[in-house]
């Protein structure tokens, strides 16, 4: 396999992973389902492209701006929708995601900045976006966010979120401010999605509202479920697998999406806790165990890995 081709898949896995990580905080840890995250990705993409193309700002600033705008929007959205329960919240996010896409579809803007002309032309999209997202950059960003996320979920805040996922009423009774934690989860996931949007735009070099249909949001949510709710490593494994899978199945042609749909159903039936099922893959643990085995020491291990599956 050629490296360039694999690199493409890896870059896509990286920014998809960023989105999925954000969703994992929202869905896997706090228990709220979003079917509108493609909308946040869309916002992030557009804002970052406007920054780099119209204002000639550096790529990093573009990414940050995309993330921040998306986060502000997420906060605003959270303010009005977070009190909705279960299905209704996920329907609201569905509506928001579609609405964002439709707004960009109808948006016609024309700027002249420093003599340069920049056009937002509705459905025609923006072409010739500078290709700034390299594998190195995306890997660094993703690693930073994976570490940050694992710090967050392993902190007191992360446990509060888990409590909300398991039983919101009980969490509230225990003195957890459920609204502010849900808001935190919402903002974080919107931030992640926004930054990922910027990476996506600068990887493809092309941006079109059509790229952010509802099915994309569904795909992201499926990745979270597939990897396992409440597991960071699960999200990583799930995303990389599901990003690579369609590429590997390309030879099957027409039938690959059929298998994809079937796989989703089978996973829900056979292993709904996902690949990792709320557990983390701990490299240190395995290394430790292996060395001990080699040294033939048979004393029991203090393990974080052997708890019962949390379902």
């Amino acid at each position: 396999m050629s490296w360039y081709y694999i690199e493409g898949i890896l870059i896509q896995s990286c920014y998809t992973l960023l989105i999925v990580l954000g969703l994992s905080i929202l869905t896997g840890y706090t228990g709220m389902f979003s079917f509108g995250h493609a909308g946040f990705v869309c916002i992030g993409g557009y804002v970052s492209v406007i920054c780099t193309m119209a204002f000639d700002l550096p790529y990093a600033v573009g990414l940050l701006a995309g993330g921040l705008v998306s986060m502000i929007l997420g906060a605003g959205l959270g303010r009005i929708t977070l009190r909705l329960k279960g299905d209704y919240f996920c329907i609201a996010t569905l509506g928001v995601g579609e609405a964002i896409r439709l707004i960009f579809n109808n948006l016609q803007l024309n700027w002249s900045i420093n003599g340069k002309n920049f056009m937002l032309d509705g459905a025609k999209g923006i072409a010739s976006v500078p290709l700034k997202t390299t594998f190195g950059i995306s890997l660094v960003i993703v690693v930073i966010f994976v570490i940050a996320t694992s710090f967050l979920v392993n902190s007191k805040h992360g446990r509060c979120m888990l409590a909300i996922r398991e039983n919101e009423l009980a969490a509230q009774m225990s003195g957890i401010n459920t609204f502010s934690y849900k808001m935190l989860a919402m903002c974080m996931s919107a931030l992640y999605a926004g930054i990922a949007g910027g990476m996506l735009a600068h990887y493809f070099g092309y941006l079109q509202p059509k790229m952010f249909m509802m099915t994309k949001s569904t795909e992201y949510t499926i990745m979270v479920i597939f990897g396992g709710m409440g597991s960071i490593t699960g999200s990583v494994v799930g995303t990389v697998l599901l990003c690579a899978l369609p590429e590997l199945l390309r030879a099957v042609g027409d039938w690959r999406l059929v298998f994809y749909g079937l796989a989703v159903i089978v996973i829900m039936i056979v292993r709904p806790m996902g690949l990792m099922g709320g557990k983390e893959l701990r490299i240190g643990y395995y290394v430790n165990r292996l060395t001990r085995k080699l040294l033939k020491k048979s004393d029991p291990l203090p393990g974080g890995d052997e708890e019962e599956e949390a379902q």
């Binding site: 329907i91 009423l169 829900m268």
Partner: protein, 292 residues
Amino acid sequence: MGIGYYLQQLVNGICLGGMYALMSVGYSLVYSIMNFSNFAHGGVIMVGAYVGYYALTALGCPFLIAFLLCGVGSGLLAIVIERLVYNPLRKRHAPSLYFIISAMGASIFLENFVIASIDGTPRNYPAVFANSISIGGLSLGIDSLLMIIVSAAALLILMFIIQKTKIGLAIRACSYNERASTLMGVNGDLVIFTVFLMGGILAGFAGILYGMRFIVKPTIGQVTNKSFVAAVFGGLGSLPGAILGSLLLGIMEIFVASWNSTLRDLFVYALLILVLVVKPSGLMGKVTEDKA
């Protein structure tokens, strides 16, 4: 633009709303019992439309037979989906979000199965009732008229079943509290079977009527998103709500489109969000509570 213009738009709106109603009732029925949004419903409608297409063209059935075949085909499919996809989850008391994901999976599966096994080419129904009638300057297609009549009749029968029969009583009981009613001797499996069957039959009717009026392709399942919005607007889980929501949505959509045709979908989704924020249970929906 005179009064005739507005009347014509109103008629257009009612036609559209009637179609949404046939579709959204399926969402609402399932939601009322199982508390999840059955996104596979769109796929069932699509399959119904294909059954109708092949019944009319390849088999050369008369319309009425094709119409009934659609109902049977979609009804069976809905039951099969329930048995294979939802039943295992139900047995395990999985959270409703797993149901939604499975439903999404089923809808991806159905859509692409049709693409892979038939093909993605849009099909056009042979003209069954191509004529239109004109009343005082208002044009109304026979197919649209049929759609309204069929919608109304099917929905009335459905309401009758739910309000007046024993199984209807069981369905209503289950929609209040499934666990309590099963404890009282209601056969939960039978209720769910009936609900999916009825939803499926209506989906089949919606499919063939949709096909006659529009065009059949594997992605029409996405069109049903709007009927889902209508169900939410009317209040998920409430049948009269779904019908009212559908009609209102249809009419509003038409008038928004006549004012600015490109803002139509934006309006639909903005309305969805607004309804959810102001009155999350929709116009006539049952109030969701936290089941601790």
